[in-house]
């Protein structure tokens, strides 16, 4: 059977879909912008993108057997779902809550979030990352992340930077003192910079870093490169554990 060489494989992964449907970049090399401190610990992904709000609007989102279907996000060709942090941003009567940090100047324009421990814990919520992108975020800096949210970020051009709690606190203090001074996050050099402050180094998993730098799912390419050994292993497995692949006499549904 004809098989396309891996390097010519079309990119239909999540990152490519994201770009196609939102027009936003999945690539991240270097970003400079206002940072906003919002350091509530244990913030669930469902509070970042409230699923209750999302799913009551059939145009906003669609879940399919647990998979996110980005194409269903379109509504008249544009994305117009609710904001990230809906519950914090608005009061129950629908007006803006002036106490919420992203409703204040200059944080309204913020694109870097200084977040709390265990940020984005909970459900698989690709929307959490997507909604953050939609409200202009490119970077989230936190002492730790929810595991699923952390992985999701890389599909949607959002950079999760893990730094010590103390360092995040210092950054937040610095930002609080002079909120209008911009911060630069450089993924190529893996460093956070801000004038009047020593650069802070961070580490991103090499594989994930490459995905973000290239703005496409490089892990898919990497997997495809191992197709042959995977197929060989599967063949061996069919002999070793035949019962996994054997479905005799199943009734016709």
């Amino acid at each position: 059977m004809f098989r396309r060489p891996a390097q010519f494989v079309r990119h239909t992964g999540m990152a490519a879909q994201f770009v196609r449907h939102t027009g936003m970049a999945a690539q991240f090399v270097r970003h400079t912008g206002i940072a906003a401190p919002f350091r509530q610990p244990d913030l669930e992904s469902e509070l970042i993108a409230p699923v209750g709000v999302e799913l009551r609007d059939p145009h906003a989102v669609h879940l399919d057997g647990g998979d996110v279907r980005l194409d269903a996000h379109r509504h008249d060709g544009s994305w117009n779902g609710p904001h990230a942090f809906h519950g914090f941003r608005y009061r129950p009567d629908g007006t803006e809550d002036p106490d919420f940090v992203l409703n204040r100047e200059p944080y309204r324009e913020a694109s870097i979030l200084l977040a709390g421990r265990n940020f984005g814990q909970g459900s698989q919520q690709a929307f959490a990352a997507i909604r953050l992108r939609q409200c202009g975020m490119r970077v989230v800096i936190a002492p730790s992340f929810g595991p699923v949210f952390h992985d999701d970020c890389f599909d949607f051009g959002l950079l999760p930077v893990t730094l010590d709690e103390q360092v995040v606190e210092e950054l937040a203090d610095q930002v609080g003192a002079n909120p209008e001074i911009e911060m630069t996050v450089d993924l190529a050099r893996q460093v956070v910079e801000r004038s009047g402050m020593a650069p802070v180094a961070f580490r991103i998993d090499a594989r994930r870093r490459l995905s973000l730098l290239q703005g496409r799912d490089t892990t898919l390419l990497e997997r495809l490169q191992h197709t042959e050994s995977a197929e060989e292993m599967r063949e061996r497995d069919r002999r070793r554990r035949p019962w996994l692949y054997n479905e005799p006499d199943r009734r016709d549904p």
Partner: protein, 495 residues
């Protein structure tokens, strides 16, 4: 000379050694003594090491794949592999109203999923279950129930509660994009460290699997499992029924571990025997012999060990906004000012959101709605236990809505055959179709704004069951007892 004797000879041994790459032996030596269930399964699935701790793994089972997704890939000329490893059940967005089969007026909750399942079957994905299918249900109930989840597998899906399947003695995690698995049959994953949570002591009356895991999370914390694959072990877990073990593993992700598992034993094999996709009689003995090699060895070394003593622990309920906020039924609502410094902010927010008063007993807190269902405890044994509590009693008149949502169509049919639906209906519960329902609050089934709902599900985050709703997590029997009392109740007085 038979094969085994031949291998014992020097010639045979030499042949055997030369048949395996040297790297395998280096690897085995490097991991000497690490005979945990997790390590055994992981090592058997490594296609290639991609440097450092990151491996390319073969996937044995994947939940996911939607017709739109598959057709898009087919149109784009992408080669799809191993359709037999997939099964798909659209559970999250389907209404559980009895009218869901024929009433488009349900709008958002109504979807022609049956047609989508047919399309999937035409595309070669035979295990696609629409809502008419007797095998339809919550994906984490359907997998084990139909025998699709078996010991020794690597099982992936998008949904975070995929860790539920780990109770069958397999590695499972959520958050995977099934599209990449459709194309390659593999995943790239960094090898997590291993943690064993030993559950010791004895369970008191009215204390069950859900209380065990709530207590564990309350003791260890919601971020305690970050970077770990957790195996639940110890005499308490050994004594649990297979269906109760799902309840324990289901909440592994609530302690931030993507993978929760239990070593398989006879309980597991007996549960699996005879199920539709379980090994057929022809392969059963072979499969069983293989499964028996899987459980964690006595001398296995874990990166971390924790012990939870269940002796004297009461039935658990949550008061706050994450599963860590669990206390005994006889305890008082904690005071944020006395909480550990790093938890104080969350405690304050929880108290404010839940409209509870610190220092007051949790027992007797009034509730508005009751939900029994979800991938934690919606299996037949859970419904039987709940029915035993409510039989001959009535749901309190102050409860505006009390639902029982079976985990799958098969559970529903079995419960109806046993007359459980009548017991629930007579007690004033609403008997629904199967699905995720109010646990998720996003399929047309949700808790009314401002209501407090006692629920046997797994998440009590702000707005989880609907906007401005409070969720009290508890075991199924505690939920059933509370429905009768109209407030948070001690199930032990109902036994």
């Amino acid at each position: 000379m038979n094969r085994r004797d031949f291998i014992r000879t020097s010639v045979g041994a030499g042949l055997l050694v030369s048949a395996y790459p040297r790297s395998l032996f280096v690897r085995l030596r490097a991991q000497g003594g690490r005979g945990t269930l997790f390590d055994k399964i992981w090592d058997a699935h490594v296609v290639a090491n991609l440097g450092g701790e990151t491996d390319l793994l073969q996937v044995d089972r994947c939940i996911g794949g939607s017709p739109t997704q598959v057709m898009r890939l087919v149109e784009e000329g992408v080669e799809l592999r191993n359709p037999e490893i997939f099964y798909s059940v659209p559970d999250h967005t389907v209404s559980t109203s009895p009218a869901r089969y024929d009433d488009p007026a349900l709008g958002w909750g109504w979807q022609p999923y049956e047609e989508l399942a047919d399309e999937m079957r035409e595309l070669g994905f035979t295990k696609a279950f629409g809502q008419f299918d007797p095998r339809y249900g919550i994906m984490h109930v359907v997998g084990p129930e139909t025998g699709l989840s078996q010991p020794g597998m690597v099982l992936c899906a998008g949904d975070s509660h995929t860790c539920t399947h780990g109770a069958m003695g397999l590695i499972s995690w959520g958050g995977e994009n099934s599209e990449n698995i459709l194309r390659t049959g593999t995943v790239i994953r960094r090898r997590p460290r291993t943690m064993r949570v030993n559950i010791v002591g004895t369970l008191g009356p009215g204390v069950c699997a859900k209380d065990v895991i709530l207590r564990t999370i309350a003791q260890l914390g919601t971020d305690s499992g970050t970077g770990y694959a957790v195996e639940y072990a110890g005499p308490v877990v050994r004594a649990l029924s297979q269906e109760a073990r799902f309840s324990v593993c289901n909440l592994a992700v609530e302690m931030a571990s993507p993978t929760g598992m239990v070593s398989p034993d006879d309980t597991t094999y007996e549960y699996l025997a005879g199920r539709e996709f379980a090994p057929s009689a022809r392969y059963w003995d072979q499969a069983l012999a293989f499964w028996r090699t899987l459980p964690t060895d006595d001398d296995a070394v874990f990166d971390r060990e924790e012990t939870i003593d269940m002796t004297g622990v009461e039935p658990q309920v949550t008061w706050g906004i994450n599963p860590e906020h669990a206390i005994g039924i006889g305890e008082r609502i904690p005071d944020p000012d006395r909480a550990p410094a790093n938890k104080r902010a969350t405690y304050r927010q929880a108290i404010e959101y839940s409209r509870l008063t610190p220092g007051e007993p949790i027992l007797g807190t009034p509730i508005d709605e009751v939900f029994i269902g979800s991938c934690v405890e919606s299996r037949i044994s859970d419904l039987r236990a709940a029915a035993a509590i409510v039989e001959g009693r009535r749901v309190a008149s102050t409860i505006t809505s009390a639902w029982v949502v079976p985990g799958s169509n098969a559970v529903k049919a079995q419960a109806e055959a046993e007359g459980l639906d009548r017991i629930f209906a007579d007690a004033g519960f609403e008997w629904r179709e199967s699905g995720c329902s109010k646990c998720y609050g996003s399929n047309g089934d949700y808790v009314e704004p401002g209501h407090r709902c006692i629920s046997n599900s797994n998440r009590n985050y702000i707005g989880r069951q609907g906007r401005d709703t409070n969720t009290i997590l508890a075991s199924t029997i505690t939920v059933a007892a509370s429905a009768i009392a109209g407030s948070i109740a001690d199930v032990r007085t109902f036994l």
